[in-house]
């Protein structure tokens, strides 16, 4: 390690690093445990941390990857829009997608940290709010512009020097469909931000401002060094992968291209999204600062500093962003121009990550995962209770991973940029006029065959117990997850609706739809994409394929067709027939 003048010694550095990490954890914990809406408390769709006065992340809670790394962009947006200078005790709200926000429902709550009268940094968090008074309850797809997203906050002080702006509070309460959830969640966010301020000051008091600031610089350098080392192991060059998105949620049948070019040069990486679709007229665009860039940072961190295979804990901070640069042309779906809406952005950024992996797969085959679902089924169920109050429920339906160099792709799990928790079927049904009729692994189609198979997606059926509305943000019905090194492609997702009184009369739905009006007994069945396989299916041990059949991960026919494994009627392995069939399949492949 280079010797830095006045460097904090490695021992103190480790002590301060540990303290920062603990603070971030505690901030995240308070936020999700205290909050009201299931999207925050169960799904943990939130991020929390401390930042220095130049907006560098010092530490962030280990909650949802999408939020990690997004807050600095909010801080830069606040700096541009704050109506008067920071004061001790301020609490600021911010969610403007054209001023750094990840997307408008992710409201940031930020407090400045003052030390001996001087601004030294920030404590803050972001959390996904159930409803901010957008055009349709909970989520939006087919809307004209950013104003249809609901309440927009640009560096607005909710507290000025510790004093609550009651008018603003009342305004928010009036403009959300579910004030009982949103106001409780905001309170939890304020509590978490204040806790961070207190802990940051304690740290400064204990070690002194100079030492803490120097230590945080070194911790960032450390994370940067670790990532650069891994990047430099990848051969220099330009790596390209392409895919497409189903549609923009309005113009059906018109797919949107996504093109990712990764340029590795020494210990740096550039992600160029040129060639991807122009911006679309609906909400299906991605805020550049708060989402597009964050996805690129995530991809490299997860691929190259994989926490399951990296023994050392590399702190989450700005350092791991530095080796990565991101290009997306102005006016493209990944860098839209105001005032187009940009709320429904998750499926697209999942595809950025998926295509970065695909682009790099020839050069780092041991680190990658074959095509994952790489989408998001985000369902907003809502309705009006007899009391006249709205109910709004946001549900994240999981996907699956592709096969991996040494293991099968995990089934039915939050993949890539998301990592939320599901809502207990029993808990929801006790509190909402909605009931889950089915929740299990998909069995209508197989996952991608491979030496290591792709994961199976999920099927979930929700039934309305009364009249209601629904908006669904999703993608990837058409472009199935890719297989790798002989592994087969997975399967696209699908959405179907029917009424419980006539379950055979099925309507096939596009992945994205807005404000569907529902009646009693209407069911929505959501199937998420299955992952692609890794490696030649003929290399999967026959006994393992038999286990797959016994466990219902694939059918007996599929075992024969894709894996060349022949089972008897009693599902015993027919070794002779299997050897013959595999030989024949190898021959015809060659």
């Amino acid at each position: 390690m280079a010797v830095i003048r006045n460097a904090v010694d490695p021992i103190t550095l480790q002590v301060i690093g540990g303290a920062l990490d603990t603070i971030a954890k505690e901030m995240g914990h308070v936020l999700y445990r205290m909050s009201y809406s299931s999207i925050i408390r169960e799904s943990q769709d939130l991020g929390a941390g401390l930042f220095d006065k130049s907006f560098n992340t010092l530490c962030e809670s280990d909650s949802t990857p999408m939020h990690i790394g997004s807050i600095p962009a909010y801080l830069r947006g606040i700096e541009k829009t704050l109506h008067d200078p920071w004061k001790e005790g301020d609490v600021v709200l911010h969610n403007h997608p054209y001023f750094g926000a990840s997307h408008s429902p992710d409201i940031a709550v930020i407090s400045p940290v003052f030390w001996e009268g001087e601004l030294v940094g920030f404590s803050g968090n972001t959390a996904h709010h159930v409803d901010i008074g957008a055009a349709t309850p909970g989520l939006i797809i087919d809307v004209p512009d950013v104003y249809a997203e609901g309440m927009l906050f640009k560096g607005i002080k909710l507290y000025e020097e510790g004093k609550l702006n009651k008018a603003l509070w009342q305004f928010i309460e009036t403009n959300t469909r579910v004030p009982s959830l949103v106001m409780g969640d905001l309170e939890a966010q304020v509590a978490s931000a204040r806790l961070g301020v207190r802990r940051f000051k304690e740290l400064l008091g204990e070690y002194g401002k100079e030492t803490v600031e120097q230590a945080t610089r070194q911790l960032m350098d450390y994370s940067e060094t670790m990532l650069r080392k891994r990047i430099s192991e990848i051969p220099d060059g330009e790596y390209v992968a392409e895919g497409f998105l189903d549609d923009d949620g309005r113009t059906r049948g018109k797919p949107l291209p996504v093109k990712v070019t990764v340029r590795i040069k020494g210990d740096t990486a550039e992600v160029d999204l040129t060639g991807s679709s122009p911006q679309v007229p609906t909400a299906f665009n991605v805020p550049f600062e708060g989402s597009t860039k964050v996805a690129c940072y995530f991809a490299f961190r997860a691929l190259l500093l994989d926490t399951a295979t990296t023994e050392e804990y590399v702190p989450q901070n700005e350092g791991s962003f530095r080796p990565i640069s991101v290009i997306a042309p102005k006016g493209s779906i990944f860098n839209p121009i105001f005032p187009v809406a940009a709320e429904a952005r998750f499926g697209q950024i999942q595809r950025i990550v998926d295509l970065i992996i695909k682009a790099l797969s020839p050069v780092i085959p041991e680190r990658i995962v074959a095509g994952s679902s790489a989408t998001l089924s985000f369902a907003a169920y809502s309705g009006v209770r007899p009391s006249g109050d709205y109910w709004v429920f946001l549900e994240v339906n999981e996907g699956a991973y592709g096969g991996r160099p040494h293991s099968d792709g995990p089934d039915s799990i939050d993949e890539l940029m998301r990592n939320t928790r599901n809502n207990p079927v029993e808990d929801l049904a006790m509190h909402l006029p909605l009931i889950c009729d089915r929740y299990e692994l998909r069995d209508d189609v197989s996952s991608g065959a491979g030496k290591f198979r792709g994961g199976l997606g999920v099927v979930k059926v929700q039934r309305f117990l009364g009249k209601g509305f629904m908006t669904h943000e999703c993608d990837r019905h058409d472009d199935a997850p890719w297989g790798f090194m002989g592994g087969h492609a997975g399967a696209g997702g699908k959405v179907e609706t029917f009424n419980a009184s006539d379950p055979k009369k099925i309507t096939s739905m596009p992945a994205k739809f807005s404000n569907l009006q529902t009646n009693t007994g209407d069911c929505i069945a959501i199937y998420s994409p299955n992952g692609g396989g890794y490696g030649d299916p003929l290399d999967r041990p026959a006994a393992t394929v038999r286990d797959d059949v016994l466990d219902g991960f694939c059918t007996r026919d599929y075992a024969r067709d894709a894996y060349g494994v022949v089972l008897t009627d009693k599902l015993e392995l027919d070794e002779v027939a299997t050897a013959a069939r595999r030989k024949e399949m190898r021959k015809s492949a060659a």
Partner: protein, 695 residues
């Protein structure tokens, strides 16, 4: 009355024997090597040897209390039963999907234990047609009994050892689970058969199913082990009652432990915490932070006002599988004597969680370990004398410790051997202090009002440094820090816990709604009384604590609120609400007193107080100078970097009233206590060592 506490650890089985009555009680302690292939062998050997040491006949033993890792090991080794499961059609994969959150945020190659090592294989999860609907629990699709019978036949042909019945909404209506279980019992005699509402009657399907599956997975092996242990003891003529320590810190019968094996998953660490509380009580101290430092990990727990804290059920898990069984709130971190210190490729200085374990162990053991560990650092600093290390039982070579630090750390850190060793200690102490803070300050506990209690062989070397960092008021070192968990076994109560789901908005509940709560509480209390009576406990000794697990309407995480005795009325429910708001403020620093509060789960805890072990009081010294205990002096380096000629005192020769001024070191067979310059140790009559900063 003769009773034994026997705690099985990874390396040693620790035992304590108490004989005699009232003031004439005597205590003996013993250690034998553990026998991992069958823990009962070591236990029986230890018990017999200890009886001989205490001069009693094995037949005279009245009680044996056992702390065991058998259930935990079954999970860690993935060596439990082949389990079959009947579940609601349409929901076959609840166990496979879990909460759909993966264990790593930033990873592509992560493992998902509940998928790669399922408690019930998918082929053995059989969907059954039946449907119960919320919120009333009405049956909309009757149980397809023919499907249950077919499933039983299939599972039987597959040779499963256990079958569980897990239906949705059984917390509202358990009729289908009951009926399916009856059919299974009839068709599969001799098999372990259990329904989810019997294992844990709570809302939330995944956690309930997972707990039920875990119980079936570990139950048969635990049952066999306990039976084997019982017959081995009986064969030696020991007719004593045998009790098992549970994760919640209470003990239970062999039968109950076998039937509810999920309740003993954290049996081992619980003993240490109870031992910590016992040790504090001897000195009249009820606020304690216990730090149990072993070879690879440290267990940290906070005991406010003598109350053992129970973990929130949302956090209780074993090896990644959620288990809804009450567990003491213990935080385990990868920091121990064997933790390895190294510089990683990015230039960060690390101590743990990599560990040299027991084999090869620290470099100074001379068993082939070359990487410097915390123990090596202590040796280099002159704090562990070869002649006293584990009573001289393990040979240590200071030259090897020195060499490990000199070659592995010094060049990279650019400092001297002593400075590097001090750095190792500082980082490991910092890791432990962070965990203590996360479990105290972060949960509204002020460590300045607490005594820090270090134990485990290595604990008392770190006690003062930790106390200083977290601002604890003093350090209390127990009489025998190395066998604290065994002591805890003789210092706790019989305990049973029964839970029942009952969702009702308390703030709005009228007397009729509250009477449903009362009826449920009565049911749970009756179950508890029945269990106690079956154990031969007279009704006069039954004590019940009733707990309402509540949350604000709309929240998803409950907190525990204690309920007042007697019938809950619209008047007395206020006490429950107050307790809930108070708990919420304590845990999160904030309460929403104007919000509606919803009751989710009722819990009745039945306790039978037992007389705790009594450590023999020390005889009083004639003066404060412990000169008769003084052994010799040696150069020792302290955390502030100063080196002193430091006297060693023999713990066994210290008497009540002795005062030791730091710098000093107190040695005993199973532990070493560091008293830095500026600190002073007072020897308490109870045998506890009170170490405080002077002034």
């Amino acid at each position: 009355m003769a009773k034994i506490g026997v705690d099985v650890g990874g390396t040693f089985t620790d035992l304590i024997l108490e004989i005699g009555e009232g003031a004439n009680r005597k205590v003996f302690v013993h250690k034998v090597p553990s026998t991992p292939h069958d823990q009962s062998e070591g236990v029986v050997r230890g018990v017999l040897e200890l009886c001989e040491l205490g001069g009693i006949k094995p037949a005279d033993l009245k009680l044996i209390v056992h702390g065991t890792t058998i259930a935990t090991n079954t999970v860690l080794e993935y060596s439990g039963a082949e389990v079959g499961m009947l579940t609601t059609r349409g929901f076959r994969d609840i166990l496979h999907m879990a909460r759909h959150k993966r264990p790593h945020n930033f990873s592509m190659q992560f493992d998902v234990p509940w998928q790669s090592k399922p408690l019930v294989k998918r082929r053995n999860r059989i969907p059954i047609t039946e449907r119960i609907l919320p919120p009333s629990g009405e049956i909309v699709a009757p149980l397809a009994e023919n499907e249950v019978r077919e499933a039983a036949t299939l599972l039987k042909s597959r040779g499963v050892e256990a079958v569980i019945v897990c239906f949705l909404f059984s917390f509202l209506n358990n009729a289908h689970e009951k009926r399916a279980k009856a059919i299974l019992k009839e068709m599969l005699p001799g098999l372990y058969v259990e329904a989810s509402h019997e294992v844990v009657d709570v809302i939330r399907e995944y956690e309930r199913f997972s707990t039920t599956a875990m119980n079936a997975f570990v139950g048969p092996r635990v049952g066999r082990y306990l039976k084997r242990l019982e017959s081995a003891l009986r064969a030696k003529g020991i007719g004593a009652q045998i009790r098992v320590m549970q994760s919640n810190g209470g003990v239970t019968t062999l039968e109950n432990a076998a039937e509810h094996a999920v309740t003993i998953l954290m049996s081992g660490p619980a003993g240490g915490v109870i031992g910590g509380r016992w040790c504090g009580r001897m000195s009249g101290e009820s606020n304690a932070i216990t730090v149990d430092i072993g070879g690879t990990s440290a267990d940290i727990s906070v005991i406010p006002e003598g109350r053992l804290r129970v973990m929130n059920p949302r956090d209780t898990q074993v090896n990644g599988y959620p288990v809804l069984a009450p567990m003491l709130d213990i935080d385990t971190i990868g920091a121990g004597g064997g933790s390895i210190a190294y510089m990683d490729e990015g230039g960060a200085f690390r101590v743990g969680p990599k560990s040299a374990g027991a084999d090869p162990g620290p470099a100074c053991y001379g068993r082939g370990g070359v990487e410097p560990t915390v123990t090596d650092a202590q040796v280099v600093l002159g704090r562990l004398d070869p002649e006293h290390f584990l009573g001289g039982g393990v040979k240590i070579d200071p030259a090897l410790a020195r060499k490990a630090i000199e070659t592995q750390l010094c060049p990279k850190l650019g400092v001297s051997v002593t400075e590097a060793a001090l750095g190792v200690i500082r980082v490991i102490n910092s890791n432990m202090a962070l965990s203590i803070r996360a479990n105290s300050v972060a949960k509204g506990v002020d460590p300045r009002r607490y005594a820090l209690m270090p134990f485990g062989g290595a604990g008392p070397l770190h006690g003062t440094a930790l106390a200083k960092t977290v601002s604890a008021k003093e350090v209390i070192v127990p009489p025998t820090p190395g066998i604290q968990a065994a002591i805890g076994l003789l210092a706790t109560d019989m305990q049973y816990e029964f839970t029942g789901a009952l969702l009702t908005v308390l703030t709005k509940a009228d007397q009729a709604a509250l009477d449903k709560v009362n009826a449920r509480l009565d049911e749970l209390s009756a179950q508890a009384s029945k269990a106690l009576a079956a154990d031969g406990v007279p009704a006069s000794q039954h004590r019940f604590v009733r707990i309402a697990e509540c949350r604000y309407v709309g929240q998803g995480f409950e907190l525990r609120a204690e309920m007042p005795d007697g019938r809950i009325t619209t008047e007395t429910k206020k006490a429950v609400l107050d307790n809930f708001h108070k708990e919420h403020r304590q845990v999160y620093g904030h309460a929403f007193e104007d919000q509606d509060v919803e009751l989710i789960t009722l819990r009745v805890v039945a306790r039978v107080p037992e007389e705790p072990v009594k450590w023999p009081a020390l005889s009083s010294s004639s003066g404060s100078d412990p000169k008769e205990a003084m052994l010799y002096s040696r150069r020792t380096v302290f955390d502030d970097g100063t080196t002193h000629d430091t006297p060693r005192y023999a713990r066994a020769k210290l008497k009540a009233g002795h005062v030791i001024d730091g710098p000093a070191i107190v040695v005993q067979t199973d532990s070493t206590t560091l008293i830095p310059p500026g600190w002073v140790a007072n020897i308490h009559q109870s045998g506890n060592l009170h170490v405080r900063e002077r002034g």
